[in-house]
């Protein structure tokens, strides 16, 4: 149907003349509200009882399902309900760290709460969730430089939305979880024993991906332009002032307000390609400036140690330990945790300067393999 211009109707016109009494309309409203309310209550009850993302309890009546696509939905539940004394927080590079490795090295029980593309703001949110649930004995935070890019509240778009309502203790804002159609589908799949979306059920390694990828120089070189390394990764540029502001806003307050918890701030061993990329993008100085700043900022805190694994050339130049320039093999994760909790590679402000010199020297020496030199 198509129409010609007419005068503008001024107001919503009322329904047809009311030939029915108020009882009819009241019944209509009651029927709609009761049907809607009852159905939603039933959905909420099913989701609360099955609790597919483990927000109210650790899965006991069924094998837990750790859906990679819903990592940010499940992690707060683990942070709240899993039993642990040591927590590991990092980005995707730390996901392939087994809880048992952390427990063996640092004292157990332990939990790995790492999330892909985690930002400093998300680390803060996760730390708040952890400390609202318990006071862990030790927290290992693996610091990614990119997590401090942008403003203090900045997150990577690719990480998708962060369901902040799951990270707090307010039960009244859980409706997006309890009344979610997506969660209902997961609940029904669990009740029916169906697999709907890929997931792991290994409580010891919920987010482990190291068994699904190949670690080799050829993988690292795949699609890499040695003259423009960042073309493949598109990582943002960072400024020292922004990184400092982010650290002050997101990390420092937790370190200071929980003096009885030991914190290890770990600089992870990226491959030498990452440092070469930083040099290409003029990000080298800002990176080292930030490392020196962090050493100074936490220097007076007795409960905080900085662990610098970046000058370990035997790791960072062995590209067979990597799947790309950032992500290393699970044995490196284990090595990192063991060295961290053994108290090795700790640096203070002076040690940070020394580590920087060694890393700069190694970078000057290192020659990347030719792109045809793949094994």
């Amino acid at each position: 149907m198509i129409v010609r211009a007419t005068d503008v109707p001024a107001a919503l016109e009322p329904p047809v003349p009311d030939r029915r009494g108020p009882v009819h309309w009241r019944r209509w409203c009651a029927a709609v509200l009761a049907a809607t309310g009852a159905t939603l209550a039933a959905v909420g009850a099913i989701n609360a009882a099955v609790d597919p993302f483990q927000q109210y309890r650790v899965a006991a009546s069924h094998a837990p399902r750790f859906y990679a696509l819903h990592h940010r939905w499940i992690n707060p539940g683990i942070a709240k309900h899993a039993p642990y004394q040591t927590a590991l927080i990092g980005s995707s590079i730390m996901e392939s760290t087994r809880n048992a490795w952390i427990a063996d090295a640092c004292g157990g029980p332990a939990v790995n709460l790492s999330m892909p593309a985690i930002s400093a703001a998300e680390i803060r949110t996760l730390l708040d969730t952890v400390f609202a649930a318990r006071a862990p004995r030790r927290v290992v935070i693996v610091l990614d430089f990119n997590a401090f890019a942008g403003t203090p509240d900045e997150r990577q778009d690719s990480a998708g939305p962060l369901p902040t309502y799951l990270y707090d203790r307010n039960p009244f804002n859980d409706l997006p979880y309890l009344l979610s159609g997506t969660v209902l589908k997961k609940s029904i799949a669990i009740l029916a024993g169906r697999r709907d979306e890929s997931f792991r059920s290994d409580v010891d390694a919920p987010w482990f991906w190291g068994d699904r990828y190949r670690f080799a120089t050829s993988e690292v070189l795949k699609g890499l332009d040695p003259d423009d390394i960042n073309a493949r990764f598109r990582q943002p540029a960072r400024a020292l002032a922004g990184m400092q502001a982010s650290f002050e806003h997101n990390i420092e307050p937790t370190l200071k307000s929980h003096p009885k918890t030991e914190f290890d701030l770990v600089w992870p061993p990226y491959s030498m390609f990452v440092w070469r990329d930083f040099a290409q993008r003029r990000q080298l100085d800002v990176t080292f400036d930030f490392k020196r700043y962090v050493a100074r900022a936490v220097g007076g805190l007795k409960n905080v140690a900085i662990v610098d694994l970046q000058p370990h050339a035997e790791i960072t130049t062995d590209l067979d330990l990597y799947m790309d320039i950032y992500h290393f093999a699970p044995q490196v994760n284990r090595w990192m945790i063991e060295r961290t909790c053994a108290g090795l590679d700790r640096v203070d402000a002076a040690g940070a300067a020394d580590a920087e010199q060694r890393l700069r020297a190694e970078l000057a020496r290192w020659r990347p393999p030719a792109t045809t030199d793949t094994r």
């Binding site: 107001a11 919503l12 009322p14 329904p15 709609v32 009344l179």
Partner: protein, 462 residues
């Protein structure tokens, strides 16, 4: 607070309704309750902006009294309108002006970086209209409570409809309206369920098709460009008209009838008809407070055309501080000038041709409204004209195949837009049958279950 959020639908709206009717025997308290609830609704997103809206209401109430009582009423109304425009200018347009000056080399780059308060365009325009009406002796309001409710009443506060004092105050003042009218509650629920369904099932699923084109404007081909432009045409309609339905529905539960904002605009046979049916309360505002004061139809033909163009340039700028909106407004202004000149010839087009020309014009101009920049808009329009070198049949097939929900929403949206009764007509014929009860309950339930992937209403940006 979003209309399509759990906190609004499950907590806020029921509490606001119950409180309002609980105070029904004491009308002044019912009004105060609704003002408090509306301010809570407004402050939910950013409480820091509450003082701004409160100051704006108090300031305009004071200006209205000065206009009424002072012998220099013209001076006071001009000052009041200027103060409103200054507020809008600082929060909405200052950075745009500074950026433009910097781009033209007239000054160094500097930005205020102020966050845009929600709904500022809507509550500012509502109050400008009130001041002008007071100066014309068309409105008067002695009660601050009633005035505050007129401005803040939450169903219209964030994205309209833009209301007139004269159409609202008798409703707010009516004691009878403070008592439950189950027929209005039923019709309100019915309309609210229609609006929510439009937003959740027809507008939001179209996002992938829209983004696929507008986020890659310079690399898309002809088919992709048309698909994205058409998807956006439907998205913005269902999003905004869905929001309006929810606003009208919520208001009706309180026995308040807001003005309608949409009346099947995409079925229009010319652009003039389109603007009588699209965002009707903005059209009304622009006509009464911009076009007519400029001289309207009373001047010579050249002046009338200039007035039309200027009115729509301002209408474009009202939507946002960006050249894309200015360009969109200018195109519609020029389109309306062309329609006026064509009508002057006395010739008519066959209805299907007139409809096609109008609809295509609207689709193409939406590109300027949605594009990230004028360069992007131009790239998409060039692609729509077949001037893109990208071959895109395979990518479009993959896009549609990978987004069956979006493709279904597109098809269903076309059907609803062109073949089905609009929500105004559905409410007019609403008789409270069991079929409508089942449909409303199903729509509300299924929509609520989809809300956890919340997308904000597009018109909150304006």
């Amino acid at each position: 607070m979003l209309f399509n959020s759990y906190e609004y639908l499950i907590y806020f709206l029921p509490a606001a309704v119950l409180g309002f009717f609980a105070f029904g025997e004491r009308p002044r308290w019912a009004v105060r309750w609704l003002v408090a609830a509306s301010l809570f609704f407004y402050g939910w997103w950013n409480p820091a902006h509450l003082p701004l809206i409160v100051a704006s209401i108090a300031g305009n109430f004071w200006f209205a009294h000065r206009v009424q009582r002072s012998p220099h009423r013209h001076r006071w109304v001009v000052t009041g309108v200027a103060a409103n425009l200054a507020l809008l200018g600082v929060f909405k347009y200052a950075d745009f002006i500074l950026r433009t000056l910097a781009q033209t080399g007239l000054m160094d780059p500097v930005e205020l970086g102020l966050a845009l308060p929600l709904g500022i365009s809507f509550f500012t325009f509502t109050q400008i209209a009130f001041l002008v009406d007071v100066s014309r002796d068309k409105a008067t309001e002695p009660s601050f409570d009633n005035y505050a409710l007129f401005v803040t009443f939450f169903p219209h506060l964030l994205a309209g409809p833009i209301i007139h004092h004269s159409e609202m105050m008798p409703q707010f003042q009516s004691t009878a309206n403070k008592r439950v009218d189950w027929r209005n509650v039923a019709a309100g629920l019915f309309l609210l369920s229609i609006g929510l369904a439009k937003k959740v099932f027809l507008a939001d699923p179209l996002v992938p098709l829209v983004s696929a084109g507008f986020d890659h404007a310079t690399t898309i081909g002809t088919l992709q460009a048309w698909l994205s432009a058409l998807a956006y045409t439907l998205q913005i309609y269902f999003d905004f008209s869905g929001y309006t339905d929810m606003a009208l529905g919520a208001a009706l539960i309180f026995n308040i009838r807001l003005p309608i904002n949409f009346d099947s605009p995409y079925r229009s046979l010319d652009l003039r008809a389109f603007w009588h049916r699209w965002h009707m309360t903005l059209s009304r505002f622009l006509r009464e407070y911009v076009y007519v004061p400029l001289g309207g139809n009373r001047a010579g033909e050249t002046r009338v055309l200039a007035n039309l163009l200027l009115t729509f340039l301002l209408g474009g700028l009202w939507h946002g501080a960006a050249w894309t909106f200015v360009c969109w407004g200018a195109l519609h202004g020029l389109g309306l000038c062309a329609v006026r000149l064509w009508r002057g010839t006395g010739r008519t087009l066959p209805a299907p041709v007139a409809w096609a020309v109008t609809f295509l014009f609207v689709v193409v101009t939406w590109v300027f409204f949605r594009a990230h920049s004028l360069g992007d808009a131009w790239a998409i329009v060039r692609a729509m004209a077949g001037l893109s070198s990208s071959a895109d049949w395979a990518s479009v097939r993959a896009l549609v195949g990978g987004n069956t929900a979006a493709a279904s929403a597109l098809a269903a949206g076309m059907l609803v837009v062109f073949q089905r009764s609009n929500s105004n007509a559905l409410v007019r014929s609403f008789a409270g049958s069991w079929m409508t009860a089942v449909a409303a309950a199903a729509a509300l339930t299924l929509a609520v279950l989809q809300l956890s992937t919340v997308a904000p209403f597009l018109y909150f940006n304006f």
